[in-house]
């Protein structure tokens, strides 16, 4: 039951990342990210429940407050400022992106084999999915043109690592968890500042325009 629930939650997280590759409008990305955070909180809480580690409940709670409520709100404010410009021509088109995502998940499965062989934790089936989510988030960052989509890709990358820590090691020590949260929050705030700055100086958040620096 434990393993099933964790597997469901992790697969759901992976599917929400696919939504970012599939859809073209930023509000859809924000909703997908919010859903992903809720699923992550669910997985963390499940791990906490089945291992009787109540600190993980606190972690899940902070996750929800910070990343499912605060950050999407900030993202939506940003979006209102810039107007809704769809991601019309990403560097890699939709069909190819989805196929590449599938291949990346396959790659993650191959990479995670030694890891899965070593352990017999009930959550180990979710390890390749977490790594797949990591690679797909990286791909989102690389293949999308709008700065705000890159930020969302980065946020999903952090979710992927949190999932990895949750299912692989049942979470990391609390101090580290705190430091990681702080870093994530500050990193996001700074990125947000930068997207505003990009918009002010360039009048667009299409990163294709950021080409002044060459050799």
């Amino acid at each position: 039951m434990f393993s099933q629930l964790v597997m469901l939650g992790s697969s759901g997280m992976l599917l929400t990342a696919l939504i970012v590759l599939w859809r073209k409008h930023v509000p859809a990305y924000i909703s997908a990210y919010r859903l992903q955070v809720w699923l992550l909180a669910g997985v963390t809480a499940t791990v906490g429940y089945f291992t009787s580690d109540w600190r993980l409940f606190a972690v899940a709670f902070v996750l929800v407050v910070l990343k499912a409520i605060a950050i999407p709100a900030l993202l939506r404010t940003m979006l209102r400022r810039f107007g809704a410009q769809p991601e019309v021509r990403p560097y890699v088109n939709t069909e190819t992106s989805l196929l590449v995502a599938g291949l990346l998940v396959l790659f993650a499965y191959v990479l995670a084999r030694p890891w899965m062989a070593v352990t017999d934790l009930p959550t180990r089936d979710a390890l390749p999915i977490a790594m797949g989510l990591l690679f797909v988030s990286l791909f989102v960052i690389v293949s999308r043109r709008k700065a705000i989509t890159q930020v969302i890709g980065f946020l999903m990358l952090e979710n992927a690592i949190a999932l990895l820590a949750a299912v692989g090691t049942y979470g990391v020590p609390l101090l580290v968890e705190l430091g990681v949260f702080l870093d994530a929050l500050m990193g996001f705030l700074v990125m947000q500042i930068f997207v505003y700055q990009i918009h002010e100086t360039f009048d667009t958040i299409d990163v294709e325009q950021l080409t002044r620096l060459r050799h």
């Binding site: 934790l121 990591l134 980065f154 020590p173 100086t201 002044r212 050799h215």
Partner: protein
């Protein structure tokens, strides 16, 4: 313990002071300098203490762990931070800049210095990671000090690429932690470096290989190793000169420090050749990329940035070449920190006078700014590895280590690439130094205290190059010893 506090607390105090005093006043800058010198002095005493007595621990649960390597890096960081503090906006400007910008600079420069110091003095690999991520954030905020398109673009690329890299490094950390927990169970202090190092022989090799791959790519992005270096020339050239000095001089070294720490852990479980091959591959790629990019350079700040990539590549190669190579690596890190930070700060002075970053537009440096020109020439001669400067010694030791460990192909390539860099850098330097200054540029230079401040690093380089002082030698030997498995 007190020297540890004196090392870490002053930058925080300086940052807090800059936050509180709004608008910026000059005394904040001077207070920052005093605090930075306090920090530098503390790092010196800490180094002496560590060489004499062994690692120093501190903090709750032994969070802080300062061994010889940490002390040496802390010394470099504190020294460069002191230079940046003295010569950054707000104190050494010929004309006072925008006070809001200066205040932002003072806050984040000190915060940046603190995060770097924290990264090298903590014994917990996860906290080290947190601190390195914090350095990215702190430095990224202050790169676009004046909001030009180029600087905004540079800082966006910087924060995105480095955050992604750091995230990968965290994945590697989690993988290694996972391996440890699955073999030894959850032990308090399981993320401490010395615990990991001691437990290494019992960990699973394939897992640690995977972890090291992630860590090398992740921290390597921060260190500017090719092919993850794309953010570096932009970020280092667009940042204010004092920040470029800190980033190029010591931040890259902090990232290499993280890689070196993990290398020791992984070497305990996996055949040495794995890390050696990877480090040499990435290192040589970086040296090649840096050297060849120098040939076509048109901007002198980017030139210095690519030179950093080249030097970090050399450090990576040296780390893979056994104990003598390690000695060469850390000596090189120290020398490079001094030389690169001085060069960037001098380049900043040139930029302020000439108003342009293009090499072609900077001519007659020796006539327009004789002192700065001479010092910059010395800095660049040091960076190409000419005697009597310290980098010659470390590069010579690197070559000797490569010969001793029978990596003769590496020797050949390194010498060739260093020659390419040598020719390019000297060519660019010559074009800048000689000739007539452009008519719009004022000629002549007063002897001011910043010049004295910048002469000190150059003098240090000569001292380190001519005769390595015994304490320094002992410190670096201890660095190598502390990294032995």
């Amino acid at each position: 313990m007190p020297s540890l506090a004196l090392l870490l607390v002053p930058p925080l105090v300086a940052a807090a002071l800059a936050i509180v005093v709004k608008p910026y006043r000059r005394f904040v800058g001077w207070a920052g300098v005093v605090l930075a010198s306090l920090s530098a002095a503390a790092s010196g005493t800490l180094a002496i203490q560590v060489v004499r007595d062994g690692p120093v621990f501190g903090g709750v649960g032994d969070i802080w762990r300062v061994d010889a390597l940490s002390a040496m890096l802390a010394l470099c960081i504190a020294f460069v931070a002191l230079l940046a503090s003295m010569l950054g906006p707000g104190l050494a400007d010929e004309r006072d800049g925008d006070p809001a910008q200066t205040r932002r600079f003072r806050i984040f420069m000190n915060a940046f210095a603190f995060t770097m110091l924290a990264a090298v003095t903590t014994g917990n690999v996860a906290l080290m990671w947190v601190a390195v991520e914090a350095t990215t954030i702190m430095s990224a905020i202050v790169i676009p000090l004046d909001r030009t398109k180029a600087s905004v673009e540079a800082s966006w690329k910087y924060i995105l690429i480095c955050s992604v890299g750091i995230a990968l490094a965290f994945t590697g950390t989690v993988l290694a932690y996972f391996d440890f927990v699955s073999t030894a169970g959850e032990v308090p202090g399981s993320l401490n470096w010395d615990v990991l190092r001691d437990a290494a022989p019992s960990l699973h090799p394939e897992l640690l290989q995977l972890a090291f791959a992630f860590i090398l790519i992740g921290y390597g992005t921060k260190a500017g190793l090719a092919p993850m270096h794309t953010w570096l020339p932009d970020a280092h050239s667009e940042a204010p000169p004092a920040i470029s000095a800190m980033m190029s001089g010591v931040l890259l070294a902090v990232a290499m420090y993280a890689i070196a720490r993990w290398k020791v852990v992984v070497d305990g479980a996996v055949d040495r050749r794995f890390t050696t091959t990877l480090l040499i591959a990435f290192g040589l790629a970086s040296v090649a990329l840096g050297a060849f990019s120098l040939v076509i350079q048109r901007h002198y700040k980017r030139m210095l940035a690519y030179s950093s990539i080249e030097h970090m590549g050399l450090v990576a190669v040296a780390l893979a070449l056994g104990p003598l190579g390690m000695f060469a690596a850390w000596l090189h890190v120290a020398n490079h920190a001094i030389a690169k930070s001085a060069s960037f700060l001098l380049a900043g002075r040139v930029l302020r006078r000439y108003g342009t970053t293009e090499i072609d537009d900077v001519t007659g440096l020796l006539r327009a700014m004789p002192w700065t020109g001479t010092l910059l020439a010395a800095g660049i001669l040091a960076l190409v590895g000419l005697p009597p400067f310290g980098l010659f010694v470390s590069e010579f030791l690197l070559v000797r280590a490569a010969v001793e460990t029978r990596h003769l192909a590496v020797v050949g390539m390194v010498l060739l690439l260093m020659a390419v860099a040598f020719v390019s850098l000297l060519g660019h330097l010559n074009r800048m130094l000689y000739g007539d200054p452009p008519p719009a540029v004022a000629t002549g230079e007063r002897r001011s205290w910043p010049l004295f401040a910048l002469a000190v690093p150059i003098a240090l380089l000569i001292v380190l190059g001519v005769a390595l002082p015994a304490p320094v030698d002992a410190l670096i030997r201890q660095c190598v010893a502390s990294l032995a498995p």
